[in-house]
Symmetry: C2
Subunit: 318 residues, 2 copies
């Protein structure tokens, strides 16, 4: 990760002087950096071994991700991300559109410095899929008739896709056998779905001070996510009508009330169950590769997500 | 161009089914397609010879350009482009942000199908520069203290850059000598600057019905372009104050009045002079390559632009 820090700092200098400060603002290093983590973990060869190609691939996927965040925050009208102003709030939405574009371009530019076109090909396709997933979600805002399959398709594209590519690139660029790279691909895909489900739950149950971004935006922007879908299945007819009407009109549902109802009705447990099923599939993908160095770390990633979701759903002690 | 039509139609099928109609809307084939034209002209080998790599490169630069248009129209709040609704107006600005991103990604994805990473590398860098130029322009809206050098730097990045790459790719992918590809690069750069100056003049002098897009947006969005810069130099102190104040406040200057003043004060002639100087440099770049097949066509491009600007500045017969 230190190598990635250095790489990202160095990338700032690649942008035109006039927009360097803005690029630096977006390329901050305080995020969770999940995708780089996955590149490094799936490409793990042993303590202290820094594979330069992995650092570069980690830089590519992180920069694509940061670009999507810049654009997401415009659409969600989010003001805070990682405990500071979003780029849209800091520079205005118009500049933020272009700044996201510049980050996308630079990510692909880094990708073009590998010996073959493979990284460019995988990352550009993945980026298109991420955007397609986001478009679907945007077009179906305030739509309460989304099936579980459609929800899954959307998070598959918007989140799991880049997780998948991160894992595949990590495994393949570090010279692990192709069979393992394919397993890492499958692992990343299901881990990504599980992670997005977790993230959708955070939007309902998290504490802003702890998470460091504006929460409740899914509700505010009328995004129907799994927690809300399960809630709608379980509430009374009257509550159902209230929620649907609030979603259509863009009114607040009252976040606290929803939280409590979600626990009472077993919605939180239901969401966690779906997430756990994905994690089980992710873990199974590694079954025949247990002897490889990355596998114990990949299993740890799964455990970490399980711990996070447990602490999220536990009642707060005040 | 027929081959490009086919290629672009086929590209629509590469987008996720859920966003295919939207992609098709943006990939319409009624535009001027200047950048593909430059690829084809600079790669010209003779009548009837279709180089598949040129078609693909033309598709890449056109798709990058269409993506920037989708994003530009969001920022300019433009409603009409090519005589129909802009993507921002048709699908809403949020979806248009993402749709532009998907087009960018797909453009780079096509670029990744060349045998080497060169096209990816050139196009991604060029795209970043285009975005940087647009960011500068966006940040300096309503700023009336922009120097001619700064204006030139902005149009160099936002327009000339992609013209330059289009010419370079056309020349180099069709197997012309490197010396000519470098000359084409220089030609494209200066032609691009001249073209943007022409386009900035169109925004003042053009007729919407003829041009097919919302005009006067530079004034409305407070963009200081060459025509306005020269106008500010030549008007009376009182007019100067009025224009500056209108630009700051975002008020309309009264398009017709401005047009007339521009002719009277010789602003139009001044703009054309700057444009002609760029075209002269572009033409000189071709001097030692006169025997190559593309050169007569490249010179014709210059003549066509000269004809267009002349007809634009001629008084209308009603």
């Amino acid at each position: 990760m230190t190598a990635l820090d250095g790489f990202m700092r160095q990338q700032v200098g690649q942008f035109e002087p006039e927009i360097r400060d803005m690029a630096a603002y977006c390329l901050d290093t305080t995020g969770k950096r999940l995708r780089p983590t996955m590149v490094f973990i799936c490409g793990w060869s042993g303590e202290g071994i820094v594979v330069e190609e992995l650092v570069r691939a980690a830089g590519v996927v992180e920069m694509v991700h940061l670009a999507t965040l810049v654009h997401d925050d415009i659409m969600d009208r989010a003001e805070i991300r990682r405990n500071r102003r979003t780029a849209a709030r800091q520079f205005g939405p118009d500049a933020a559109v272009l700044l996201g574009d510049a980050l996308f371009s630079q990510a692909l530019h880094i990708a073009s410095h590998f010996p073959t076109t493979e990284v460019c090909r995988l990352v550009s396709e993945s980026t298109r899929k991420v955007c397609s997933g986001e478009i679907m979600q945007t077009l179906r805002r305030r739509d309460t008739n989304i099936s579980l399959d459609e929800y899954r398709r959307m998070i598959d594209l918007k989140t799991a896709e880049l997780f998948r590519v991160s894992c595949f690139l990590g495994a393949s660029l570090s010279g692990h056998p192709l069979g393992f790279a394919q397993a890492a691909d499958r692992f990343g895909h299901h881990l990504g779905i599980a992670y997005q489900i977790y993230d959708d739950l955070v939007d309902f149950l998290g504490e802003e001070t702890q998470i460091g971004k504006t929460l409740g935006t899914d509700l505010a922007t009328g995004k129907l996510t799994l927690p809300l879908m399960l809630l709608l299945e379980k509430v009374t007819a009257v509550e159902h009508a209230t929620i649907v009407s609030a979603l259509h009109s863009g009114q607040s549902l009252g976040l606290a009330a929803s939280k409590q109802r979600m626990q009472e009705l077993g919605v939180v447990a239901g969401v966690i169950q779906v997430m756990e099923a994905e994690l089980a599939v992710a873990t199974r993908a590694l079954d025949s590769h247990g002897s490889l160095a990355p596998v114990p770390l990949m299993r740890q990633l799964v455990t970490m997500l399980q711990v996070k979701v447990t602490s999220l759903s536990a009642p707060k002690v005040s």
